[in-house]
Amino acid sequence: MHIVVPIKLAPDLVEDLEIDAGGAALDRTFLRLIINEFDDHAIEQAFLLKERGGGQVTIVAPDLEGADDVLYTAAAKGADRLIKLIGDFSAGVNCHALARTLAKVIGDLHPDLVLTGVQAHDDLDGAVGPLLAEHLGMPYLGYVAGLTVSDGKCMARKEYPGGLVAEMDVALPAVFGIQAAEKPPRYVVTSLITQAMKSATIEEIETGEFDSGGAAAVERMSRLEATTHAEMIEGSTDQVADKLVAVLRERGLLAPRG
């Protein structure tokens, strides 16, 4: 069984985000990118499936700052093959372009399963998974939190609101949008990553031109001006705590003791 996990790098939301001079895109000059957190779950789910049923896990990442770290970390966790897509990703590519590019590479890998993060927080034109499935001619099922493979098909647990789960049979090969792996993504110690940097090989594949057609244009972007709603309480720890207690007391929210 060959499991391919394409990953996307997304802005680290801990950092301040800026809009570029054009006013319709993020300023990418100092943008710090990290692995899309749902992709981290997709990688973990791939390893869980490999541990249960054997097979090979291939990780595919676009050539952006941080891609090598992501790939070597995956190798340290047990990835069998690492592929880096070489192209000009620096200006940012949308889901449509990334999906088309990935399809060309992943189609040649003949995967049984493709696991993607169900979405990324900076997606504005759908998500990579369902678009990729179209280009590969495979079925797509998203919001998945659990997979079992047997006899050429896959049983997927799809999440609905309120904790309801639908169990669906999916014929393979197929693309899944992973909402959460069955277990939290595993931690790997730095020494193993350092070791992987020495022993693992990253294959590089040229992507050619991007085709970003299919997304609607963004004409303006603005930063959300925070604190427009909340009354912000300032002061020392004691002062803030006192004020919050007063807020609770005024509203009759302090529970009787006992």
Partner: protein
Amino acid sequence: MSQDIWVVVETLRGAVMDITYTSLAAGRILADGLGIRLVAVLLGHNAEPLAGTLGTADSVIYVDHASLADFTPEAYRRTISGLAKELAPRAILFGHTSMGMDIACGVSLDLNAPLISSCERVKLEDGRPWYSSPTCGGKIIAEGPIPDPVCVLTIVPGGYKPEAVRLPGPKEVVRMAPSAALEGLRITLKKYIEPQAADVDIAKEPMLVAVGRGIQQADNIALAEALAQALGGVVCGSRPVVDQGWLPVPRLVGKSGVSVKPKCYVALGVSGAPEHVEGISGAELIIAINTDPRAPIFNVAHFGTLLSMFDLLPALTEKIRQAPRP
């Protein structure tokens, strides 16, 4: 060319989902602004009575087929794309949900229609329809025109209240047969699995302390537990915390978890991503404690502080314990 605005109705086990009404509210603005009709598209099997709350729409198209009894991506997508090729709507609105996001991309490619996702609000600007989508965890707002002649949008909750558009009706129901073949489906529903039994039902708790990614590690949950105990409430959390296994699934608040409506919701290190905020719109009082001044949680909170929860919580918990009761 009908050039109507379509809203694809989401149903789950015989009930219309709230996101459908949110989408109808957005669709109504577009239809009124453009002087065209708003049409709800309902798929199902023996499900026509569900059209009874879709009165905001001018018309409901109802497609009945055994393969459409429950949502599966291929059957629903083929049916919607088939209808749209026949009737040529101006825009198709899906929920940005477990159902909508499975098929919106496919439908947009089938129709060669541009796709706009995470749309929260729509408006008419100089006669042109516009979308507005929060992105990057709600920290950035992207806007632009909704392209013609056809466009597919996925709608997130938050922009419009579902209650206001849950109206009896509709004026007409048009029954149609699926125009696409529904055989050879590669995805089939086997069964539903009920939610894990909960020790407490957070939907009914009046006092909730929510922990987000800012809690940093499992050991720190104890700080939230202490505060919750002082308040006579319980601890719940956002997706990253539950995914880490630090809280059980029934304590998850938001899109794939529980929608809560407590008297008081204290959010500790919760950024306020749209998926979380959609679960707390019913909270009467929201207090946010977060060191990031740009955290979107401050846009829904009533009170906020930028102090570190690790500094504030011990003092706050103690003061609540000591506070005189009425």
